[in-house]
């Protein structure tokens, strides 16, 4: 049971001033969680002046005082939005899920309770709950509009279908209008701690390329040394450990030989997430976009890698460059997860404009990648740039594996063309001997990986 409560108080801010994305905190409440995004006039009553003038003019021209009189209420409506003031919300959000570690495909009921903790009634509040992009709403609606007396609570619930991965709910978006609808305030209300749905994922093994650095791990190499699997025997050299001497052979032949095993080493893996605009394409409206799958894939790979001794790092190119140096251990994994869930580059909301220059970010990435680091690139392969980046990294000596969620569709001619383009990119990468895991999102990532690995063997 995940239970999150957020108390929020919007402090003394000037009515019309928009505090874009700024945390508005009140003196008495230190952990304020309403973030005002935008306050604007809707201007919906603007046209009413024309009506008043028209009726008034006809009244005067036809010399009908009653008609002129009838413009009184109309003119009053012109002033209506000025009289109602703008909403000053104080809201508390509580979100509960009936099972926060569901099985894949299970229905999870999400209940959101929102309380008006302020002093004024809110005549028109609209809520859109921040459903994680990968989760499909199966029943009910995460959207709700109501009237809230001070102190009263509204409750709505809906059902989502669980998908693999760790899904963090986004803050509730609240749109508040005054009773005339003349002013609209958009704000986000967080629940603290954030609600998280974790669905145990099923990536059995992360596909790694055969190259690594010299510390013990699970990557079985072709180099002889300490390990489990027999590699070869060779002539004894001074300094070889006694335990590795083949004593049976010594007893038989009198020659000293040393047994070598295949060395198992740890790899350094950097999960590189493509978060540029082209990654935000979806197969259809309302379907999760490529970025959502990128994040889900990264999440699953991170979990699988967390069970090994491999060094894992995280990088993303998009709005800006995002980097987490490779590390190992539970603490590092937690940091990586937090970064995945919260970093602005990894937001599930598409960027408004094309990022400044991906080349600079790519250069920064190459600078920071350690000499023997492998790269697992998560990208829907939406454009040519990402292919060339993969080829460049490979050429620079960083073995690249591409995990590509397939978000192409054949709904229209353009979509079919994009789909063919993507096929071409996949095959050009495979020609360069870069393994590509073509992940069709209706099957688990693990299955796609196993398929590709079976083909390779």
């Amino acid at each position: 049971m995940s239970n999150a409560t957020a108390t929020a108080e919007e402090g003394a801010t000037d009515g019309a001033v928009s505090n874009y994305g700024q945390r508005v905190s009140a003196a008495e409440d230190a952990d304020d969680l309403v973030v005002e995004q935008d306050r604007r006039r809707t201007g919906r009553w603007r046209g009413i002046v024309a009506v008043a003038l028209f009726a008034g003019a006809v009244g005067v021209l036809a010399a009908r005082p009653f008609l002129l009189l009838a413009t009184v209420p109309v003119a009053a409506f012109a002033a209506y939005p000025r009289l109602t003031g703008s909403p000053k919300p104080t809201l508390a959000v509580e979100r509960t899920v009936d099972d926060d570690t569901p099985d894949r495909g299970a229905d999870v009921e999400v209940t959101v309770r929102i309380t008006n903790t302020g002093r004024w009634p809110l005549s028109d509040v609209r809520f859109v709950d921040g459903v994680p992009p990968m989760l499909a709403v199966r029943d009910g609606s995460p959207r709700h509009a109501t009237f809230l007396w001070p102190g009263s609570t509204t409750e709505f619930s809906y059902t989502v279908g669980a998908e693999y991965g760790r899904h963090q709910f986004d803050p509730v978006t609240a749109m508040l209008r005054d009773v005339s609808g003349g002013t609209e305030l958009e704000a986000t209300v967080e629940s603290d701690p954030a609600t998280v749905l974790t669905c145990t994922d099923a990536v059995p093994e992360v596909p790694l390329r055969k190259q690594s650095r010299h510390s013990t791990g699970r990557l079985v190499t072709d180099d002889g040394g300490a390990g489990i699997e027999f590699h070869r025997t060779r002539e004894y050299q001074k300094g070889d450990p006694m335990s590795r001497i083949d004593w049976k052979r010594y007893a038989k032949t009198g020659e000293l030989t040393t047994v070598e095993f295949r060395e198992e080493r740890a790899a350094t893996i950097v999960l590189l997430i493509d978060a540029r605009q082209s990654a935000y394409r979806a197969s259809a409206e309302g379907e999760p976009h490529g970025m959502a799958y990128n994040l889900a894939g990264a999440e699953q790979l991170l979990t699988a890698l967390g069970e090994t001794r491999d060094y894992v790092g995280l990088a993303a190119i998009g709005r800006q460059f995002c980097w987490l140096a490779a590390g190992v251990g539970i603490e590092h994994e937690v940091t990586a997860r937090e970064l995945l869930a919260t970093h602005p580059v990894l937001s599930t909301v598409p960027p408004d404009e094309e990022p400044p220059d991906p080349d600079e970010q790519a250069a920064e990435l190459r600078k920071r990648l350690s000499g023997d680091a492998q790269v697992i690139l998560l990208s829907p392969l939406g454009d040519e740039y990402i292919t060339s980046l993969a080829l460049t990294l490979e050429a620079n000596g960083h073995p690249v594996t591409v995990v590509s969620p397939n978000v192409s569709s054949d709904a229209s001619v353009g979509a079919r063309l994009a789909s063919v383009d993507r096929e071409n990119r996949v095959s050009s990468l495979r020609q360069a001997e870069i393994p590509v895991i073509d992940w069709t999102p209706d099957q688990p990532l693990g299955t796609s990986i196993v398929d590709v690995m079976e083909v390779e063997q």
Binding site: G56, P73, L135, G140, S141, R143, E285
Partner: protein, 233 residues
């Protein structure tokens, strides 16, 4: 993610159509006109039924039903016009029904005929309602009771406001969300404020502004104009 159906919300749409019919009824004066209004409302009901069927996927049935509903809704005006023909001042009585043409347009706006056009259709319907009320005011100005005009004007505004609310709620939240409390509170607020406006109008009659000469009325209009410009500065 799931597809959200963005359509104007139902409660406000119903309020809009009823208020629009109320606007016409307020300025009407003979029972035959009410027959026309009833026919139009019946047509709108059938139109709503037809579109509901259409949206549920029963297109072959929904489309003709909606079309019949629309024709009947417009036919309400024709029925009203034909029925009042026997009266002496039939032109005035027909003019009083002008607003009835606006009702189906508002209904088309909130059904909606097309998401892009819905606001325009509602505005067109609202304009027809206002023209109807103004026509009555201009031709029937010798009447002694200003209340129908005031109520008609406010009802037209309530209708437009509810239709617009239905559209913007539908755009933001879709049809599956439960929205009726905020719709009722919004339209309730508008109606209440309209009532205050009507009250103010009636008070002004009692202080006898209606006996003022035309020049003073013109001055009043000018003053109102200045006030409105100031409001939007």
């Amino acid at each position: 993610m799931t597809n959200v159906v963005y359509r104007p919300s139902r409660v406000s749409s119903a309020i809009a159509v009823l208020a629009a019919a109320g606007c016409v009824a307020a300025v009407g004066s003979v029972p035959e006109q009410y027959t026309g209004i009833a026919v139009t409302l019946g047509g709108v009901l059938v139109l709503a039924l037809g579109t509901a069927l259409y949206n549920r996927g029963i297109r072959f049935l929904g489309f003709p039903v909606a079309l019949v509903g629309l024709l009947v809704a417009f036919g309400g005006f024709a029925v009203g016009v034909a029925l009042v023909g026997s009266y002496q001042a039939s032109l005035t009585l027909r003019g009083e029904l002008l607003g009835l043409l606006g009702v189906p347009f508002i209904a088309l706006g909130v059904v909606p005929l097309s998401r892009r056009l819905s606001r325009r259709l509602v505005s067109l319907g609202f304009a027809l309602l206002v023209i109807g009320v103004v026509f009555v005011g201009a031709f029937n100005g010798t009447g002694t009771d200003p209340l129908p005009l005031l109520v008609g004007m406010v009802a037209a505004i309530v209708a437009w406001d509810a239709a617009e609310q239905a559209i913007n709620l539908g755009n933001q939240l879709g049809t599956r969300a439960r929205t009726w409390p905020s719709e009722l509170s919004h339209s309730g607020g508008t109606t209440l404020f309209g009532g205050v406006g009507i009250g103010a109008g009636l008070v002004m009659i009692n202080v006898n502004v209606t006996d003022l000469p035309l020049a003073s009325l013109l001055l009043l209009l000018g003053a109102a104009l200045v006030l409105m410009v100031a409001l939007y500065k």
